[in-house]
């Protein structure tokens, strides 16, 4: 399967295309990616990118490209649980120039609601670097609450937990 197309008035989540990659690679080399686990080189970054696509076939979840309503690539959002993640995660990034327009929030609503509606009843959290105040703020707007008891894989992270009643 490929990523399901999810749309709202404010944003589109669609399957990745090869043409998304260059913008992501530019992002990973920019200060905007300072709180993320960074790939060592372009091919490692591409493997990560391709894994967000192949993950859909492998485990029925994965990544989407975030697009503005007029079809411009704005970032990535993913529901994923690689082996070192204790729980299923909702993660995101926005490319330079797309912040402050509500795109990440609109994308987060779509992906969160999709994830919480899946029949596997798995929990959903966001692992966020404790200094990444913008993403922490977004998780809170999406209804997630800080869970100090959650297991972490990176001591620099805090864990925000989503609740089904938050999705409406």
């Amino acid at each position: 399967m490929s990523a399901p197309l999810l749309t709202s008035d404010n944003v589109t989540l669609r399957p990745h295309r090869q043409s998304d990659f260059d913008a992501y690679w530019t992002f990973f080399r920019s200060p905007r990616a300072q709180y993320m686990d960074l790939p060592a080189d372009a091919s490692s970054a591409w493997y990560g990118f391709a894994s967000e696509v192949g993950s859909w076939d492998l485990v029925g979840q994965g990544g989407w490209a975030i697009e503005t309503p007029d079809g411009v690539l704005a970032g990535q959002i993913a529901v994923t649980q690689p082996p070192h993640f204790p729980e299923r995660e909702l993660g995101w990034f926005l490319l330079d120039g797309f912040e402050g327009r509500g795109l990440a929030y609109a994308a987060g609503v779509l992906a969160r609601d999709w994830a919480l509606a899946q029949p596997n009843a798995a929990t959903l959290v966001s692992y966020i670097h404790r200094d990444n105040t913008r993403s922490i703020r977004l998780a809170e707007r999406l209804g997630a609450t800080l869970d100090p008891a959650a297991v972490i894989f990176d001591v620099g992270d805090v864990v925000y937990r989503y609740h089904e009643e938050a999705a409406a």
């Binding site: 970054a45 493997y47 192949g54 485990v59």
Partner: protein, 200 residues
């Protein structure tokens, strides 16, 4: 945009897309010393990511690496196919065989079928293989496939050697094509069958 991965069949093998149930075998080899020339050994996250990327490669590029299965038992033997991530100068034909079944010609048979698919069905005009110069088994396989070292070609990162495969026309009614067919056939029907062993 979902790519349906074609199934290729050879005398001994069936090549199918990588599937979830094949992952433990992939992980075993890529967590081991066997994968030292393919960026390994990998930790559990890297191994999982690469396997997901093997599947994603098909969706993004429209081709990729097949899982090689034994036709009779169905067990997996390794992978072979096309590989073209970022940073690769040209489309690569790549292979890996699980260590416990190496030396039986599976990589030759699978790679030969994959290359023919790329040439005849997808219309590729050529391909390369990027090989670690210490990986003598793969260099020998590249040469058995008719590939020649191309020192003028760009490499992935300078730590590898580019082997250039014969062009499609060079694999039609040619000595190399006959040689490959003969070698593949010899694995199931050896040219020289020992009839016994001298006992002193």
């Amino acid at each position: 945009m979902t790519t349906t991965i074609p199934v290729l069949e050879t005398k001994r093998l069936i090549l199918r897309g990588p599937e979830p149930q094949d992952y433990p075998n992939f992980k075993a080899t890529f967590s081991s010393y066997r994968s030292r020339f393919m960026g390994g050994p990998l930790n559990p996250y890297e191994s999982w990511m690469l396997y997901a990327a093997e599947i994603g490669h098909w969706q993004i590029r429209g081709y990729g690496m097949w899982m090689i299965h034994d036709r009779e038992s169905g067990r997996t033997l390794g992978m072979a196919g096309g590989w073209f991530p970022a940073q690769w100068p040209e489309r690569e034909i790549a292979w890996i065989i699980w260590p416990e079944v190496a030396g039986r010609g599976y990589a030759l048979e699978a790679t030969h079928a994959a290359r023919r698919y790329f040439y005849e069905t997808l219309g590729w005009d050529g391909a390369v293989s990027y090989i670690d110069p210490k990986n003598l088994d793969s260099i020998r396989l590249a040469e058995r496939l008719g590939a020649k070292r191309d020192d003028g070609a760009a490499t992935v990162d300078g730590n590898d050697v580019c082997y250039r495969h014969p062009a499609p026309a060079d694999l039609v009614s040619s000595q190399i094509a006959d040689g490959i067919a003969l070698e593949i056939a010899s694995y199931t029907d050896p040219l020289f069958k020992p009839e016994g062993y001298a006992l002193d």
